[in-house]
Symmetry: C2
Subunit: 259 residues, 2 copies
């Protein structure tokens, strides 16, 4: 894990890094955000970015900074294959072209997108586990959380299913087309975000993915609006949720309420 | 509106009252909660209690006190017909007996419950409007919110549909069987609570009621668990939501967030 620079502002230290590749794994460009001046282990959130976005897209940086300053977390994000600073991925591009042809022939985009996410997750699950190894080697071991919607959900569900260090996850804007089996293997608390009028993910597929989650403790938040209309106040809820499950400063687990 | 007593503790003044009947409307026993020592108009929340509960059930009192102390609201609750301090309601009891027979013959309880709520709402909508009139005559006019789940949803949806003073509402644990038309007439922001494994309200009916709401701004919160398992932290979310929409101290309306 080679840090390539370090800047601090408004209480947050931002450190871009390269995790050098190994046989069978590419170089991974990433960013680590930590509270300025902090040392030692602290709960870590892995942020998965959306499709056609990258590790330093404005919404990812804004969310990372809030998780650091308001939750005291360390946060890490890496570019997905073919995104951000990573090279064009010939095979994925070929599949994308084929998908366009299949859509033109009448197949549902959500089904194709889901199949594609399953394929990419075969690469990103080991990549993200390597990132966790490296960050925890650097900071020390601590509980891990995950936050990712859209592509970050498609890749995040198989990751959280495979990675026992993850103790709580926020997913959303994704469907059950291809991920239901992986979702059933997840047992940690989940907060799941649905846009009620999502033009990319059919509502029944969103609800089916939430339903498929094996977690005993799971919460769905749905809002009116389309795929890109997720309200900013969901970051408040994510902070409360992740702090409750990961942080030693976490609040009490809620009790049942007669109504 | 005759206040029958007044007590204050931990910053909250509690005033049970009787709203005297008029031709065609029964006496209404209710409770008004306000910040201790406060005077003048302030945003008001009308709390609708659940079935077989009443205006001073522990969960209603606890919620009222939090709305007062943490949101600065005035809160009012009245007993539904046949509940709490109100006399036995012969006609409703007769219908309940008939419903048991229809259930024994195989009809779904949720359908019967919904039909019953529609019937009772014909009585409670004018009752609750009279309560608003009286409280606003006492405190001065101010924005009104509504909170009610289960029976409080079945009676609350027609009330909010009919009452333009209500600017925001929390509903839940109720279905679309009978209320979809009323829900479509609601245009104010709504927060809607679903228990994913509700044994009384079929999931598809819950989702259909949320879907039917005419509001441009609506949010659904679903949790794993049964009808009685609504987590206490939903009161935190209700406070944020009602404060945002009713209070002059409200936070900014959220903006879209690319993801």
């Amino acid at each position: 894990m080679r840090f390539t620079s370090q800047t601090s502002s408004d209480g947050v230290t931002e450190q871009p890094f390269i995790l050098d590749g190994t046989p069978g794994r590419d170089d991974l460009p990433g960013v680590l955000w930590t509270p300025e001046g902090a040392t030692g282990p602290r709960p870590l959130i892995l942020l998965g970015h959306g499709g056609d976005r990258h590790k330093q897209a404005p919404e990812i940086v804004a969310r990372a900074r809030r998780f650091v300053t308001e939750g005291g977390f360390a946060v890490v994000a890496v570019d997905a294959p073919g995104h951000g600073d990573r090279p064009v991925h010939e095979r994925y591009n070929r599949i994308a072209t084929q998908s366009q042809a299949r859509m033109a022939a009448g197949e549902h985009p959500a089904q194709l997108m889901a199949e594609f996410h399953v394929l990419v997750a075969q690469q990103t699950v080991p990549e993200w586990r390597a990132v966790l190894d490296a960050v925890q080697h650097h900071l020390g071991p601590a509980p891990v959380g995950y936050w990712g919607v859209s592509l970050g959900c498609g890749l995040g569900v198989p990751f959280v299913a495979a990675e026992p260090r993850v103790r709580a996850a926020v997913f959303g804007l994704g469907g059950a087309h291809a991920n239901a089996d992986q979702a059933a293997r997840i047992s940690v608390p989940v907060q799941f975000l649905v846009q009620w009028d999502d033009e990319r993910v059919p509502r029944d597929q969103s609800l089916a993915l939430f339903d498929a989650l094996g977690s005993a403790e799971k919460t769905l938040h749905a809002h009116s609006g389309g795929h890109g209309d997720l309200p900013q106040f969901e970051t408040d809820d994510a902070l409360l949720f992740l702090t409750k499950h990961l942080s030693p400063r976490g609040v009490d687990v809620p009790e049942a309420d007669v109504s």
